[in-house]
């Protein structure tokens, strides 16, 4: 598997610049220093996304105006409005409060997925460490928001007795709920990783058989997969958030939808 892909020049450059520093840091922390590149591909790519978006937004911010919006501004505003309406649909009236994490996740995962189609770059999301990081962030965040919104005791209570379930079912409901909440992390990370990694692998294999025209339909499919998987990750994040922060009387309308969403 390691030998299928060639070295990326940007990874080499970053490692030439920051590799010794990272190695020294690892040694200071008492961790083993890996052979070859000290900073792996996916970390370089993830950092590239962060830097690129920060620069893009700083540049775009200068041209923003209320009276005379440019094309880029209208596009970004439409994106933000779409996310806000999705949050309002699934979380309710306090949904737009969570725009920050949902929007960040969407932007990061979408650009991460699309990066794999550009020669010289690699999808950070085709590495399970990155997707697991995203899924764990979402899981920790929605638990924290649930506790914040409902109070610790009340939040823990509806693991044992979800609204609508009688209290004597608690010994059965508690393990089921715990497993379902833990498996959300698993399914979020594995779904994204499997889709993007599988897509990249198919394109790679087709390229090594016929490197002309034949991989193009697959790459087009990759475009759709990238957008769809980013949207799905964000949609599930929103649904989990909605399930966690919904108070008692709002719970009923969401419970059916959330129950199946592992």
């Amino acid at each position: 598997m390691e030998k299928l892909e060639h070295e990326l020049w940007i990874v080499q450059a970053v490692n030439a610049a920051f590799g010794p520093m990272a190695a020294a840091l690892l040694r200071a922390l008492g961790r083993p220093v890996p052979h070859g590149h000290v900073i792996p591909d996916y970390l370089v790519m993830a950092a590239l996304i962060v830097v690129a978006w920060a620069v893009l937004c700083l540049i775009a911010r200068r041209s923003f105006s209320v009276e005379n919006p440019g094309k880029l501004q209208i596009m970004l505003e439409d994106g933000v409005a779409a996310l806000q309406s999705m949050l309002a649909d699934y979380v309710g009236h306090k949904g737009p409060r969570y725009l920050a994490i949902v929007g960040t996740m969407f932007v990061f995962i979408l650009s991460g997925n699309l990066m794999g189609l550009i020669p010289g770059l690699k999808s950070p999301t085709s590495n399970i460490n990155v997707t697991l990081g995203c899924a764990l962030t979402v899981a920790v965040y929605y638990h924290i928001q649930g506790v914040k919104e409902q109070g610790l005791g009340h939040y823990l209570k509806h693991f044992a007795a979800p609204p609508g379930a009688p209290i004597f079912l608690a010994p059965i409901m508690l393990p089921i709920e715990l497993i379902s909440h833990l498996s959300r992390v698993l399914s979020l990370s594995l779904r994204l990783f499997g889709n993007i990694f599988g897509e990249d692998l198919v394109i790679l294999i087709l390229f090594s058989i016929v490197p002309f025209i034949v991989p193009v339909p697959m790459m087009f499919l990759g475009l759709i997969t990238a957008a769809l998987q980013a949207f799905i990750f964000v949609l599930l994040t929103t649904i989990y958030l909605g399930g966690a922060v919904a108070t008692e009387h709002e719970q009923h309308e969401h419970s059916e939808m959330v129950a199946g969403a592992v």
Partner: protein, 111 residues
Amino acid sequence: MSRKFFVFGMMALLGVAFASPLHAQEAAPAAATTVVAQWSIITAGFALAFAAAFGALGQAKGLSAAVEGIARNPSAAGEIRGNLILGLVLIESLVIYVLLIALILFFVKPF
């Protein structure tokens, strides 16, 4: 027009002719494959085939019902579409799990 196609076809032929890394790799000496390794490859292929077949059946059922629902009541299209995508994703993720297991059997070889 035909000249354009000719140039195109020659380029395609060149592309095919110059690229055969996979065929080149076949000449490499096969690693000592145990019976377990052989069977695991067969199993991975069949597992993926079954997962794709039944996952597609399930998705087709949901999709046909959703399209029918939209045809009967076009005003509910938005809501139906949202639930459809959610359902398709949850079905699809099971197929993806099998894909991951197949990839693990192919590349990680945990035996």
